[in-house]
């Protein structure tokens, strides 16, 4: 029985059913999300498929800045999705609010309302970038970005011969 349970958990990553939620996006990301399912990119290779009801979903794809009007609905959507679930923020708006991150009628990125598991920046992200995000979430690919801390040498450091330019925190 425990073995079966484990198998069920293992299967999670191999059959991600996706619910696509536009929370105020401009359509760019939404179209690219659909594009990922089309022949050239074919996300269904990885068992990913688009579903119509949040009850069937394993993954919420959130596109767009969360507008004030849509925020309660997004919260309800999150609650309506069975655990375990992943939330992907697709595009710059969902990851960080885009160019409307601080306007009166948006709340910013998706993580202002619900917990986000993966961020896929881009405006809009290329279909490849979305696929890459999926690959990262499935552990098929390592993430390549990290916070970068760059610094020009100061006089003192120059004098000491130290330089930390270009260090990347993984």
């Amino acid at each position: 029985m425990a073995m079966l349970e484990k198998a069920c958990q293992k299967a999670f990553g191999k059959a991600l059913w996706v619910y696509h939620a536009n929370t105020g996006a401009c359509n760019g990301c939404d179209i690219e999300v659909i594009n990922v399912l089309t022949p050239y990119y074919d996300a269904e290779r990885f068992g990913i498929k688009l579903v119509g009801s949040p009850r069937h979903a394993d993954v919420l794809l959130v596109c767009g800045p969360v507008t004030r009007q849509v925020a309660p609905a997004l919260q309800r959507l999150y609650d309506a999705t069975p655990n375990p679930k992943l939330v992907f923020a697709i595009g710059s708006c969902a990851t960080g609010g885009g160019c409307w991150f601080d306007t009166y009628s948006t709340l910013g990125g998706a993580d202002k309302v619900i917990p986000v598991d993966f961020y896929v920046p881009g405006c809009p992200p290329r279909p490849e970038a979305i696929l890459y995000g999926v690959a990262v979430s499935l552990g098929l690919a390592p993430k390549t970005v990290g916070a970068e801390l760059l610094r020009q040498e100061s006089v003192e450091e120059l004098a000491r011969g130290e330089s930390i330019v270009g260090e990347v925190r993984p």
């Binding site: 079966l4 349970e5 069920c8 958990q9 009801s53 309660p72 609905a73 997004l74 309506a80």
Partner: protein
């Protein structure tokens, strides 16, 4: 004790109960419980009679009263067929009376003085007419039954629809009775006696000598009984009358009263009618009439949103099934007795099953009406949580009537459809009728899924707090639902009994139960050594249990957690009342396709001069004297003024004379 004595006890108990309940009608509950007690008591001798019959204790006819002038004799004889219908009557009478005790509470304005006594008289008349073997007395009791049921239908006489329903019922059934009287008179002239045996012989003679008249007589009987049974087009009274009556009565009307029409049809077409080419023809007529009513009745039922009206239309449909089985049986009597026996078996079994599930459904609808005051299913929803017992028993009954295996409705439909298809090997017409039967069984399913979906499931209306009905109302439903399951899963026993009933009704040799139904624990129809059809409910239930258990094990394999959540409405919240899918919305495209199938007549209730109305006021000439006589009950008597049917009665009387004259002229 002899059967006759037992039956007299039974009837007297019922009549006594009527008087006692009238006497204590002031106390509603007391009157109710008294009635229940008397009905229960009456059931004891009744049960004894039935047991005797099925145990094979042979008894001859007993003469209780003779009218030598006519000559007519009040003879009593219980054969297996009568016994079967007595069982139905007893069970339904007891349960519907029990249900009515608390149910009558919500008719605050109306006195029960015009309810329990009439109800008990109604039961008594049914018992009586089932056991007499003399046509004159049969007709007398028939009329008594019709009248008493008429008063039950117009119980709520202030309501316009009750008035109209009562009027329609009165007119149509009396016209039917008239037909029966006319037919009887013709045969009586030939036989010189009203006894069944004599009439049977005279019909045979008539058929040989004057076939036209014989067929006319058969037609009159057919119209007469089919009207009572609710076969369309004569059964048009039914969808109005059943909903109008209090729910307990609806159950009795639908469970038993209409079955007596079937009883009559069986008596006429299986016992009276000799097995001949004529029986082949009349079999086809019966089957066609049955198919028409099941087709039209059920499809019309699908369009109803009033729960009781819906069920009334289904009564028409289900009677259609019985009639179809009967017809196939009668038609096959000559050519293939086995199939005929199977078809008749199916018809009778369906009659029994229909009594169970339809009574249960009416009681369920009554329970909902009692608690919510609503019959309009558009306004109901989500009651399963607050009325679990009613919901469960209604679900069982609904699945039964829809023919979902392994409930009882499926078994009888299976018998009828199998008989149709097997009979269809000789009469290809029956193939089509059988297919129609299968299709309509789906329509029934659709219709009752609507009832379940709209009334018990769906969005709960939080604004209305609804409680489950009290035990005395829940118990009858549970008993009937349990019967639905038991009869479905263990069909051998009832079918064995029914074989005797069939054997006693038909004039051919009926094979034994094993030869008909196979020797296994299920049903295996065989004919001439060839296995024809199989249905073993126990095996299927067992397999379903195993399969379901396996499936449940799979379901739990991932140890999923359960969480209760609100309904997903795309992210916005909406009130339950707004998003509820009302009954009228179900299957609209399909309903549109059959919209014109049941023509709606918009007849106005005619108005009559006040004087006439007063003259024919039932309350004045029937109740008030009686009620006055029994101390101080007059106050409770309603002051309503329905008089319309009585005028029709007059017309009918005139018409009857004319028809009889014509008949006599014809037979000369």
């Amino acid at each position: 004790m002899t059967s006759a004595l037992l039956l007299q006890t039974c009837v007297l108990l019922l009549l006594g109960g009527a008087l006692v309940s009238l006497a204590c009608a002031r106390n509603r509950a007391l009157a109710g419980w008294v009635s229940v007690a008397f009905v229960a008591a009456a059931c004891v001798p009744l049960a004894r009679v039935v047991v005797n019959v099925f145990a094979g204790v042979a008894e001859g006819e007993t003469v209780l009263l003779a009218l030598p002038a006519l000559p007519a004799r009040l003879t009593v004889h219980v054969d297996a067929l009568s016994a079967f219908f007595l069982v139905l009557t007893g069970v339904i009478a007891l349960l519907s009376t029990l249900f009515s005790v608390r149910y009558m509470e919500h008719f605050e304005k109306d006195t029960v003085a015009k309810f329990y006594p009439v109800l008990l008289v109604f039961f008594a008349s049914m018992v009586a007419l089932l056991v007499v073997t003399d046509m004159l007395f049969f007709l007398v009791f028939w009329e008594l039954m019709t009248l008493s049921s008429f008063f039950l239908v117009i119980f709520e006489r202030e309501r316009k629809d009750s008035q109209r329903a009562g009027l329609k019922y009165f007119v149509i059934t009396h016209a039917a009775t008239l037909c029966m009287i006319a037919g009887t008179l013709v045969l009586w002239r030939q036989a010189g006696s009203f006894s069944f045996a004599a009439l049977q012989d005279s019909l045979g003679v008539l058929l040989a000598e004057r076939a036209v008249v014989a067929h006319l007589v058969l037609f009159l009987f057919f119209v007469g009984f089919a009207t009572k049974a609710g076969v369309l087009p004569m059964g048009d009274w039914l969808p109005d009358a059943h909903p109008a009556a209090p729910s307990g009565v609806s159950a009795a009307l639908s469970g038993v009263l209409v079955k007596l029409g079937i009883y009559g049809l069986i008596r006429v077409f299986c016992s009276f009618l000799p097995v001949s080419a004529a029986s082949d023809t009349w079999g086809v007529v019966l089957a066609l009439a049955g198919t028409v009513s099941l087709f039209v009745g059920t499809l019309t039922a699908l369009r109803q949103t009033d729960s009781k009206r819906l069920m009334a239309f289904h009564t028409i449909g289900q009677i259609g099934y019985i009639c179809l089985g009967l017809g196939v049986g009668v038609a096959c009597l000559r050519t293939s007795p086995t199939i005929a026996a199977l078809a008749l078996l199916g018809a009778l079994f369906h009659a029994a099953n229909h009594a169970c599930f339809k009574a249960c459904l009416f009681l369920g609808a009554g329970a909902v009406l009692h608690r919510t005051g609503e019959r309009d299913m558009d306004r109901l929803g989500g009651l399963a949580a607050s009325m679990p017992v009613t919901a469960s028993s209604t679900t069982v009954a609904a699945l039964s009537i829809s023919g979902v295996p392994p409930f009882n409705g499926f078994t009888s439909k299976w018998l009828i459809v199998a008989a149709c298809i097997l009979g269809g090997l000789q009469h290809p017409l029956f193939l089509v009728l059988g297919l129609v039967g299968m299709f309509i069984s789906l329509v029934t399913l659709a219709s009752f899924l609507k009832v379940l979906g709209a009334v018990f499931m769906g969005a709960r209306d939080e604004s209305r707090s609804v409680k489950e009905v009290p035990l005395s109302m829940a118990l009858p439903q549970v008993v009937l639902a349990a019967l639905c399951v038991l009869l479905g899963v263990f069909p051998r026993l009832p079918l064995g009994v029914l074989r005797d009933a069939v054997a006693s009704a038909v004039r051919i040799e009926v094979p034994g139960a094993d030869a008909l139904l196979g020797t296994g624990f299920g049903l295996g129809l065989t004919a001439g050594g060839l296995a024809l059809a199989f249905w073993a409910p126990l095996v299927v239930v067992l397999a379903l249990a195993l399969g379901g258990a396996l499936a449940y094990a799979i379901q739990r394999a991932g140890a999923a957690k359960v969480r209760e959540v609100p309904v997903w409405t795309c992210g916005e919240l909406d009130s339950a009342a707004a998003v509820r899918y009302p009954a009228s919305s179900f299957y609209l495209p399909f309903k549109h396709a059959f919209a014109g199938i049941y023509p709606a007549l918009h007849a106005r209730v005619p108005q009559f001069p006040a004087a006439l109305r007063r003259a024919f006021n039932v309350d004045t000439w029937l109740y008030r004297p009686v009620v006055r006589a029994v101390d101080g009950l007059a106050r409770g008597v309603s002051r309503s003024h329905v008089g319309v049917p009585q005028v029709y009665l007059l017309w009918i009387a005139v018409g009857a004379v004319v028809v009889v004259a014509v008949m006599l002229a014809l037979t000369r």
